[in-house]
């Protein structure tokens, strides 16, 4: 992160203090799966909402006052700025509290933090998106970003999977991408049900079947750690080099700005140096710390 990046972001600090949240208002809630919700929100300060800028891949700290803060990526695309979005799975203290909120509720928001997907180096490339479960949240920001600038990129493959049809997130996106003739959308589930007519199989395996070419390509991977661990070798088999694979990592975080220590792996802080990394950057510790 360069000094100019930081000074760019400084203007979004509440009262000059990086730790103070802004108030945001929930505008809409979408039930993605029984445990996952997407929250559409706007910053209460309208001028700030208008001036606010971020890039695909960046995250923010969201808080339910009195309960605490948790980090989530901004899951909407900077190319679609009617509102901002994030998605949260109901798993812990803060996410349970978020799931109890309704439209109109106020939450805390500070960010954006972290780096972003390197759009410049993706230009003119074939893009292969590989994702599982709620891991699609950060990628959908990039996917919509890319689709909204479609002529800058070549082929787009998306392989997305979930445990079961009921666990598929962002079904409205999956439908839209499925209908988009410039996108090869492959959806799979680990276990089908009576109504499921799509593919059945784990994401890394289905990826090998789809077999996208590594030529002039970049793979962008995000999903549960177990999926990520098996997807990198699958991509390597297809000829992808570590530099051609990008992912965005998730760790427990408190400060979001490289101070509190807990997202540290090796000499990197996921919040400060990531969350977007190439496999080349992280492959040495992927086996032991992720």
């Amino acid at each position: 992160m360069t000094v100019s990046d930081i000074s760019q972001r400084q203007k979004f600090f509440a009262q000059g203090n990086v730790y103070l949240p802004h108030i945001a208002v929930i505008e809409k809630i979408i039930e993605e799966t029984p445990g996952v919700r997407t929250f559409h929100f706007n910053l209460k300060d309208q001028k700030l909402q208008k001036d606010f800028s971020f890039q695909s891949g960046q995250f923010a700290q969201y808080s339910v006052f009195g309960i605490g803060e948790a980090p989530f990526c901004i899951s909407s695309s900077p190319t679609r700025r009617g509102h901002l979005e994030f998605a949260a799975q109901k798993v812990g203290k803060v996410t349970n509290a978020l799931h109890r909120l309704g439209v109109g509720a106020e939450i805390g928001f500070r960010g954006p933090y972290g780096n972003s997907f390197p759009l410049d180096s993706l230009k003119g490339k074939n893009l292969v998106f590989v994702s599982g479960g709620i891991g699609l949240a950060p990628l959908r920001s990039l996917i919509w970003n890319v689709i909204d600038n479609r002529n800058k990129y070549k082929k787009i493959d998306i392989v997305y999977g979930a445990r079961s049809p009921a666990d598929l997130c962002f079904k409205y996106d999956l439908d839209a991408w499925d209908k988009d003739k410039t996108v090869n959308m492959v959806t799979t589930v680990d276990r089908g049900d009576d109504t499921w007519k799509g593919k059945v199989g784990l994401v890394p395996k289905v990826l090998e079947e789809v077999a996208p070419s590594a030529e002039e390509a970049v793979a962008i991977v995000c999903g549960p750690p177990i999926m990520i661990r098996f997807t990198f070798p699958a991509l390597e088999k297809l000829g992808f080099k570590p530099e051609q694979m990008l992912t965005t990592l998730e760790k427990r975080m408190k400060c979001g700005i490289g101070k509190c220590g807990r997202c540290n792996i090796g000499n990197i802080y996921v919040c400060r140096d990531g969350p977007v990394f190439s496999y080349a950057q992280i492959k040495d510790f992927v086996s032991s710390e992720y």
């Binding site: 509440a14 730790y19 509190c260």
Partner: protein, 344 residues
């Protein structure tokens, strides 16, 4: 020009400084040696003080600190920023190892995003160092390039030269302070020679040595040597004391509290020694103790040097002295295999 002050005038000196600063000095009033607000008379610490149990980071990154308050009114929230505390502080008696620790902490809190809580206190504080004439057996500062009686990380540095303290002006801020302080005498050549002798004696009293040459690369090569780390962590009870009382450890947690409609967000010390520290709902990258011990050691001797080009340890020896099971970081570091295991 260096100054000096008669030992019997120290109380007078602190009294004068108390007019302009909140003066912190070594204290045992709360049962444990720490830097605490000086009571205006007691300078007995000059006799008993070797080093504080609680490191001086507590004055800049308190064990618990309010970040801001918030009010709730019919579902709407308003945030009340922290009040600007412009109180000027002076810490009297900081040891060179701990002063270096502050310089090491500055790197993190100034890096990329500025931490307003830490840095505002740091900016408002003068450090007056006191040479360490009686190091503990567990001290190994000289192995980290620190001398127990010399420091470039303080504003003023005091060295015991018999019935006087020899005073060196290290920074412009320190010089400014001595210029405004009455009762100081100019030191002469003999005082300087005395001070040099005292420093040399103190340096030689630190007998524990750690060979830090190439330690970063050795740790890098041994990162996946689970057998080594299992052994290194075997007796650790994960109490966290070696991190909480480490002068260069800075990890913190952030939590909210809300009572009726009044709430606050706090930060508090945390430790990579606790498994909850990294626990996420689905998994925990450092559930096992050996991974946490590895994190602690490698963060200080491998990762921090990779990022900031300095080992995040000052050899203050607290983690050795205060450990309930005699875990010893120097023993662990001495036994890191020189070569990565074959087959890695």
């Amino acid at each position: 020009m260096a100054k000096k002050i008669s030992k019997k005038d120290i109380a007078q000196l602190l009294k004068a400084w108390s007019q302009q600063f909140a003066v912190l000095a070594p204290s045992r009033k709360r049962g444990v040696a720490e830097m605490a607000e000086w009571d205006g008379k007691d300078v007995s610490f000059l006799d008993w003080y070797r080093n504080t149990v609680v490191p001086p980071k507590a004055s800049f990154l308190p064990p618990m600190e309010e970040m801001f308050r918030f009010q709730k009114d019919k579902g709407k929230y308003s945030i009340e920023p922290p009040s600007k505390n412009g109180q000027k502080q002076l810490i009297f008696g900081i040891r060179p190892c701990d002063a270096r620790a502050m310089a090491i902490l500055d790197m993190t809190f100034e890096d990329a995003y500025q931490d307003p809580y830490y840095l505002s206190k740091r900016k408002n504080t003068l450090l007056v160092g006191l040479g360490c004439a009686n190091p503990y057996e567990s001290c190994f500062c000289t192995s980290l390039g620190i001398s127990p009686s010399e420091s470039a990380d303080v504003d003023l540095m005091l060295t015991d030269i018999g019935d006087h303290f020899f005073i060196e002006e290290i920074t412009a801020k320190g010089k400014e302070l001595t210029a405004k302080t009455s009762g100081l005498k100019d030191a002469n050549k003999d005082d300087e020679a005395e001070a040099r002798k005292a420093k040399e004696t103190a340096y030689n009293k630190v007998t524990r040595k750690l060979d830090t040459e190439g330690i970063k690369d050795k740790l890098l090569a041994s990162f996946d040597d689970e057998e080594f780390w299992q052994k290194a962590a075997a007796k650790c009870v994960s109490c966290g004391i070696c991190t909480l009382l480490c002068p260069t450890c800075y990890c913190f947690d952030i939590n909210d509290e809300l009572v009726k409609d009044e709430g606050a967000r706090f930060r508090s010390w945390d430790s990579c020694g606790f498994s909850l520290y990294t626990r996420m709902p689905m998994e925990n990258p450092r559930e096992e103790k050996w991974r946490r011990v590895r994190q602690k050691v490698c963060h200080k001797y491998e990762f921090y040097p990779m990022t900031f080009d300095i080992i995040a340890c000052t050899g203050c020896g607290r983690c050795i002295r205060l450990c309930p099971v005699n875990w010893d970081i120097t023993k662990v570091l001495e036994s890191v295999p020189a070569e990565a295991k074959a087959g890695k």
